[in-house]
Symmetry: C2
Subunit: 439 residues, 2 copies
């Protein structure tokens, strides 16, 4: 065999003057190199959003898929419809029924993970300079899509009950004062990534009404909705406004991400445009993935599996909250998620999550600094911790190491003042392309 020697990485890019303007919004994350280090086994990574797949019944899944190939292999390996397999779209409607959605399979467009749906929706709505309203903080993958289509993101604050309605109204007014109207509100109402909080039931109607009055579509991204720890699934926004909400769902967290199957539910006109955009982008979503999931849903106790995940993640959430309470120095605060994967931790005054990250990785613990979740590079006083993947003893050890780093930073701060702790010339934007570890 023998591979070809890699050509030098230091050559000039001969095509620098040829790229589209939109590529300026596509930047590599500065923390990518650090994360290569953070993936070493001695580092406790509280950074990634990978589901804990060892909780899946791999033998059963293997049998299901082997049977699929034996019985329908020539269909499962063939091209399929651009909108997605009709049977799987029916099953998706059954899944969404758990959250109060009454949708028809024709309303559903299956995509290559819900990241692909985010991309397609942005593609059909956003011209350069168009405004998107998003929570502060927001999912890094959504911000990277918005940046790559040259959208202008206006962040709206959240409190413990989710996005703040008054601030949403104020933002809409401010946008209209400059002669614009936001194309949509991007929101993760349930078990927010990265904030770890949910939009309160009382506020849901209010947020919908504000957007309806302003003529603004709501883009509801809900990968974690069925992973609540305490109660029945929360009724989603789409359930109460089928004509004003585009809903995004995913099997990545309730089953497994390696199939890349997500979906969008959209008003009729939007759905038709989404199918056209999807066909231009990938012809059709992977038929094999779709039929594997369809067969899994039809033959396996998938709701029991979701319960298994919920219990597993609840235990890890508890472990993390307990460890944070025991170890964190005073001045640090954090959210208490009722589901999903993430805790949002705000540092004691004067500390900077972005500047601190190299020292944390040296102390063998990794997190995602908060600025990754803001389009404008702010947010460095906070960081995201995930409890989904590491087992409880590793979570405890990771929090212990992180607490020690915080204490050292506080000592440095007391001794030398804030100048030492802040990165110099911090003018880099936050959002950059989400490498899959950040999903």
């Amino acid at each position: 065999m023998g591979t070809v020697p890699r050509r030098s990485g230091m050559r000039l890019d001969a095509f620098l003057d040829r790229y589209a303007v939109r590529t300026r919004g596509m930047t590599a994350s500065e923390i990518r190199a650090l994360f290569a280090v953070a993936s070493r086994p001695e580092v406790v990574s509280l950074a990634g959003g990978m589901p804990y797949l060892n909780a899946l019944p791999l033998d059963a899944v293997g049998s299901v898929i082997a049977k699929l190939i034996r019985e329908r292999g020539a269909v499962a390996m063939q091209y399929g419809s651009g909108q997605g397999d009709p049977t799987l779209r029916e099953q998706i409607c059954e899944v969404m029924r758990l959250e109060g959605i009454a949708a028809h399979p024709d309303d559903v467009v299956i995509t290559v993970g819900s990241q692909h749906a985010l991309d397609l929706i942005t593609r059909i709505f956003i011209d350069p300079g168009d405004v998107v309203i998003a929570e502060a903080p927001s999912y890094v993958g959504a911000l990277s899509v918005f940046a790559s289509y040259q959208a202008e993101v206006v962040h709206v604050s959240m409190d413990d009950c989710g996005i703040v309605p008054e601030q949403l109204s104020d933002a809409i007014k401010a946008i209209s004062l400059v002669g614009k109207r936001a194309k949509f509100l991007y929101t993760v109402p349930n078990f927010h990534n990265p904030a770890g909080i949910s939009l309160s039931v009382l506020r849901r109607q209010e947020v919908l009404e504000i957007c309806q009055r302003a003529g603004i579509l709501v883009l509801e991204d809900n990968p974690y909705g069925l992973l609540g720890f305490d109660a029945d699934p929360i009724r989603v926004l789409r359930a109460d406004d089928p004509e004003g909400v585009i809903y995004l769902g995913s099997f990545s967290k309730t089953f497994a991400p390696g199939f890349r199957v997500g979906w969008a539910v959209a008003p009729h006109g939007v759905q038709k445009k989404l199918v056209l955009a999807a066909e231009a982008s990938v012809l059709c979503p992977p038929m094999f993935s779709q039929l594997a999931i369809s067969t899994y849903l039809a033959s396996q106790p998938w709701q029991v599996q979701i319960k298994t995940y919920r219990e597993l993640y609840r235990e890890r959430r508890n472990t993390m909250l307990t460890a944070l309470g025991e170890k964190m120095p005073s001045g640090a605060t954090w959210t208490k998620p009722g589901g999903g994967f993430y805790v949002w931790l705000t540092l004691p005054a004067g500390l900077d999550a972005k500047a601190m990250l190299p020292r944390a990785v040296a102390a063998r613990v990794a997190y995602v600094p908060g600025n990754a979740f803001f389009a404008n590079g702010s947010g460095s006083s906070s960081l995201r911790l995930s409890y989904c993947y590491p087992p409880p003893d590793r979570i405890r050890e990771g929090v212990r190491r992180l607490a020690a780093v915080l204490e050292e930073e506080q000592e440095l701060l007391a001794t030398f003042g804030p100048g030492e702790l802040r990165p110099t010339g911090n003018n880099s934007s936050g959002a950059s392309t989400p490498f899959p570890d950040l999903a």
Copy 2:
């Protein structure tokens, strides 16, 4: 269960004034409705580009994938790298070696089928109004991507030896006269879709030199390169110009399309931008698909399988050419493909493939009218016939029916003149989103 009744399809689209300008380039194919009819079993479809998957060893593939899930299920179902699995990228380099390419796995970006690579490359290079040069005719899926990014497509004629170098030079000159430079030349040099011809070996260097002199990238799309019927694989353009060619490959035709695994090989700077664009669009390609194909390549005689496909398609090509020779009325001409899936048939003078299609479908035979393969709506004097999917007796029957339709059209033409045969007000553009049947 019981599904929710579908809301009326005739409502106005409340978001008509919100869509991005680029959606004007995303139009539904006019022939889509006809193709729903054409998929009925009584119709011989010579339209689709679906590979004949019953030629695959489904039992062996099933065992390979079941073993993958048992042994590495938690990896195969997890998120992966945005650039694609490193082992599969090594294997792809081995596959490309058959066509003269010496590439490093770092140069390879795995995509959701090569359609996704087309989308990403267009995304990073094309601003609205930028020029792409493409053969006349061109792959419908590429034209739809170019349209959705608001590119201006300049077609260059082909003859039996592929794209005509003089015409390519002339087009480049004409483009520079209006103060522009094409961003790239899009070409399918081997077993062209839809033209069914290959760029002659003598012309390859000439085309490369013309593009090098003009500073124009070459985008070489090569899904059929290993499916030649007569000789060893043809040396591809990328083999002789690693810094000036972006190469696209796919497992859709040499193995199966349902996994949606294709790839791009690009110069270093372009490759880095492609990974960023890929991560924003789908986070990562399906890990399950990638490891399924990687395991298949590592454990199964994949070159023997390609030989099986070649022999199968050679027989069908022979059947189609023989039937065309026996049945077609004088005045019809067609290409003689040395590989791949397609014959390009030019109608006797006065006939129109687009206008004739409803009558052909009524006569229970379907094809793709030539205008689908032109950005400007021309090309209706030709049509594409595919021989990849129907067995030989169906191919013969389909050609017989098509020949009868042509003869009836000629009689109509002789009786009533050309007015009756041409669609009125034919101002629609050709390219529209490729539904997967047209792949």
